[in-house]
Symmetry: C2
Subunit: 655 residues, 2 copies
């Protein structure tokens, strides 16, 4: 539930509070009682900054209790290749840090949770801050504890060339976007005649296709925080963690950090960074570029890191992005207007003090100069959806003005407007230094979470339209040979289309069971009615001409809460399929107001889940531009970081 | 239901009878009253044989009735590029065929069907047999009818070079296999440590990845017959059709044909053809290589076409495959043993008469010479599944001997054994002519249809193991530079994995609703337990070491019949999740014998569907070898035919 929640308004956003990631595993990436972070199998870019965290666990009860106190005299050595292992302080020329102590609890399984019998673990720990490995090859990191136990981590510094091949990288992320969704979006947005599409998605025209594995480090399903961290840092992490390996301490700001592509690129080359998202801008996918915390819900902190970087420890050089566009004004206006910001500061003021131009609607965005660092915040909470901005406009009439004055945010840009302006600014300001731009279509995920398939596919088509406009703009700027354009995703949702629904027949059936016969599969799916303009002429457009045809898509997720399905567009705004009928009961039923006249269906998800959940599937990677050939085939999500870093020439064999 | 049905035993196979493809469309690919097959937008390989069928429809009632009798004086012309249109008889130098007449009925929608009010259509028609277009470019085919109405089809003969780049093509088809399933199979078959796989699928190692669009010509969901036809002929067709465009006549053997890759390759080069499948060998995916009928259920006919090709019309040169391996003995032994064959012949005898060596079990297969044309039929009906052959062997104890003597078929080869032997034979016999081998893992689809996820993933892992062994064998033979290896699929099923299930906790809950809390999502998914060997050592294997761990996959389809889920392996053989409680009622409920102790779930599929159904999603294409670079990116299923034909150099600019 805490994952990429559709937060409409501040109250909902605040509900998404931190949840311990420690249920059923004592600590992810630490199966033994001695923990090394970065853990075994970690890969590094030569010269990438990172922190080291060591923990020794002394379980006091439960199946792992061994009756020992937590070891305070553990030691840690590092050996490069076959060289002699050196104490970590000698290896990195560091002072010995002070010993830290804490304890934490976890449940060994659901039976222990039901019985409220947590396992308690005492911990001793040390952390070593901002180190780097420069020489490629294998390193052996060994933690010795409990008089003879050892935990060994094999680290690999990858052998990458330092030559820079791309001046710019534009990385589009369709949050939660799968191949299944791309296929469905193509079906409703583009017309076929006798099995041949008369127009294609821009994604279909990319020369190189890959698949990336999205799984988390401690579980095979990821959330957007740790998947984004994998894409940006080359290090998979735990669910909810941004740019750190999650340790077991109570402090969410002391976890061992890894440097991100944005940070490394800016530190080494002075290149500019742009961040664009249709989410609230403190959401995980944009946040993971600069934030370092195991708790993605520290939204105020995230916004501060955009501007100021990491301030509680010595870390990388950071000057703020040149472009920061999105929603989430509640982390910018302070509590006098109902916002919740870091130290209750007004972050519009904080950004302005550092020289940012501030824009709060599309008119201001379009009018703004392309010569200034620019902050654009266009709504409180998540930005409005393409379908509401373009088709069901009455739904914009809310209280989500980015000023915090509770008026409506009617003049919001779309992803395309934000991205094209971002490119203008970055291109103008970067000179020879180049830029890295991340642009996220966030509400593919958010709308899939609430089973609002139409809105999700609308967001996907808007992403494709944005990519199309971007490809053209980069060509118009003459930058296509020096700009790598990537489009990928951070994880999947189990979604597909199995046929069509005759909504007229569906509505005419009185019995729920009979309504199922309105579904047409195989040949009875027929052809898409979404592109039917009522005549045989065809207009090239990237969007459906009719969102509410008689024959709709028979589509859905693979795991749901209780819900009621009509397989029809929800004209009155994003769905809320399920809800707690008794507040805080943790017992979710179908929302009585959603999907009236629809088919009542029992879910399979845990009773506390109001929304659909992420899935396992590999997701697609589309690449064009310099280094495109390195993105073909199947690889791990972390490889995207290394491929981008190689294309930017960011490896450094020496300090 | 008729689509890739899991036919256990002959009775079930016979249930899969022909269903009209004409519900809710008068006739696919013919929106107007004049029909041209091949229709508008058809692409051709230069020199590919095809038939032309023209129809003029005169609806007698319903919304399209215009009160005219069927036109008997329609005309048909063809123009190349901007040249003058010529009558078809002149263009192809053909005799005018005789006029045919018939009528057919269809339902305009579900209301008409419920009211039993069919629309009746009178038809006049002509067919022109075995023609070909040689010169690349556009052709305009025009049917004129009803005193001034016209239907125009634009045909494109693609501009391909005649140079041959590959000696051999091995085309693996994972029936119904999606990227989601590949990801799930990797998870249970291969182990991760801290987010890094310690071994990979063979598919993951292919250098080139593409996506193909699988939709049908007349509907956006396909079945295996017309998707296979698209892959093999470059022509999408209608659901249930094999190597033809489906016309509206009653005869299933007079539909307009298109020549397949196997036929063209053999006709032009004398190259050898091998066909391997774990299905009954008359099933759609193997059948589409030689059969030409709009009704995939003409199994006896299909087997005859393997041996004799098309005999009712002049067609292509065909000498039978050099290898034909699979199940489906009931189309080989005749009715005295309970089989159902073409003209009640014994097809073991028919194949033997034409010089085929016959093998009926794995021992005979392994012992057979690699110098003979070989027919291997290893079971009645679909072959046994990897999981039953290797883990739950007691399930093999059935009555499915390929001899028809009702003993068990205990000694069945797997896909790997069949494929490696096929390569031996084809390589030995082909000399310089090369070979085309299609090898199908059929039961990925068949087991997904019955919601038996474990068996489906077992079949997928067996496919991957087969591909791995094939890559090695081709290298050992020194043929890797002249052999294109492709792995793809024909369509999807809406499948994914969303987390894990604690089966112990699940079983301990008395209430259905409470069982849902046994599901773990996000971090509570944990790590795969299928590769857990009970200690920390790891053995490189392509299969799970434990199919029944405490924490199983929380997996499923997106559209189901009523069913009961346990999310546990079905140890007693393939599932039958739903059934008619009253025979022939068309009203399917959960099978009381399936999934006992599981969670009862209502389906969303039409009430007559006992099985899951195919889905829309694009499927992956993995390529290595000559021409591999042409298989990257996103394209239509028919493009696979053209890419293979180009790699074999099969285009012919002159007759």
């Amino acid at each position: 539930m805490r994952c990429s929640i559709q937060s409409i308004g501040l109250a909902a956003a605040l509900l998404a509070s931190a949840v311990s990631a420690q249920t059923f595993q004592r600590l992810g990436t630490c199966p033994t009682l001695g923990c090394v972070f970065p853990p075994d199998q970690a890969d590094f870019l030569a010269g990438q900054y990172f922190d080291i965290r060591l923990e020794v666990h002394a379980p006091k009860n439960g199946s792992e209790a061994i009756g020992l106190p937590p070891d305070e005299k553990f030691t840690f050595t590092i050996a490069r290749g076959n060289e002699t292992a050196k104490p970590v302080t000698e290896f990195f020329k560091l002072e010995e840090p002070k010993l830290e102590k804490w304890n934490f609890t976890w449940y060994e399984d659901l039976f222990a949770k039901d019985a409220k019998q947590p396992s308690v673990v005492d911990v001793t720990s040390k952390a070593y801050r901002r180190v780097a490995l420069y020489e490629p090859g294998e390193y052996t990191a060994t933690l010795s504890y409990n008089n003879g136990s050892t935990t060994t981590a094999t680290w690999l510094v990858r052998d990458l060339v330092e030559e820079r091949k791309a001046k710019n990288i534009i990385f589009f992320i369709g949050d939660g976007m799968t191949t299944n969704m791309i296929t469905a979006a193509r079906l409703i947005g583009h017309k076929t005649i006798n099995g041949k599409y008369q127009s294609l998605m821009q994604l279909d025209k990319f020369p190189v296709l890959g698949h990336q594995m999205t799984h988390s480090i401690d579980s095979f399903i990821t959330d957007s925080a740790n998947s984004a961290s994998a894409l940006y840092t080359g290090h998979k992490s735990s669910v909810n963690a941004l740019g750190v390996y999650a340790d077991s301490s109570k402090n969410p700001f002391d976890d061992p950090k890894v440097e991100t592509i944005a940070e490394i690129f800016h530190r080494l080359t002075g290149g500019l960074v742009g961040i664009v998202s249709t989410a609230f801008i403190a959401d995980a996918t944009p946040a993971a570029l600069t934030a370092h915390t195991r708790d993605r819900n520290q939204y105020g902190h995230v916004v501060d890191t955009f501007l100021n970087g990491i301030t509680n420890y010595t870390w990388t050089k950071w000057d703020g992005p040149d472009v920061l566009f999105g929603g989430g004004a509640e982390q910018f206006y302070n509590s006098t207007l109902g916002g919740k910001t870091y130290q209750d500061k007004d972050y519009y003021e904080e950004f302005a003090k550092k020289g940012y131009k501030i824009v709060l609607n599309n008119t201001q965005l379009q009018a703004a100069s392309s010569n200034e660092k620019t902050l654009g915040i266009f709504s409180t909470s998540v930005m409005s959806k393409w379908l509401d901005r373009n088709v069901y406009k009455v739904n914009l009439n809310q209280t989500l003005s980015p000023t915090g004055d509770k008026t409506a945010a009617l003049d919001q840009p779309g992803l395309k407007e934000m991205t094209l302006k971002a490119i203008d600014i970055l291109h103008n300001r970067a000179g020879d230094k180049g830029f890295f731009l991340m642009s996220e279509a966030a509400s593919i995920d958010k709308m899939m979470h609430v089973l609002d398939y139409d809105r999700a596919l609308g967001e996907l088509l808007e992403l494709d339209d944005t990519v199309k406009a971007t490809v053209k703009k980069i060509q118009d700027l003459g930058c296509e040979k020096e700009t790598l354009i990537l489009v990928s995703s951070d994880h999947g949702h189990g979604f597909d289309v199995m046929g069509s629904v005759d909504t007229k027949y569906f509505a005419a059936q009185k019995e729920d069971r009979k309504k199922r016969n309105a579904v047409g599969v195989y040949q009875n799916s027929g052809l898409s009615q979404y592109t039917n303009t009522g005549n045989l002429t065809y207009t090239d457009s990237n969007f459906p001409s009719n969102w509410s045809p008689r024959y709709t898509l028979f589509q859905g997720l693979m795991a749901d809460p209780d819900r009621r399905e009509t397989w029809s567009v929800h004209k009155d705004g994003p769905r809320k399929p399920a809800a707690e009928l008794v507040k805080d009961s943790g017992d979710v039923y179908v929302n009585p107001k959603d999907g009236q006249g629809g088919l009542l269906l029992n879910g399979t998800l845990p009773l506390s889940d109001e929304q659909g959940v992420h899935s396992l599937t590999d997701v697609a990677v589309f690449a064009q531009g310099p280094c495109q050939e390195t993105f073909g085939g199947v690889y791990n999500s972390i490889d995207i970081f290394f491929k981008m870093a190689e294309c930017f020439g960011l490896a450094r064999g020496k300090a």
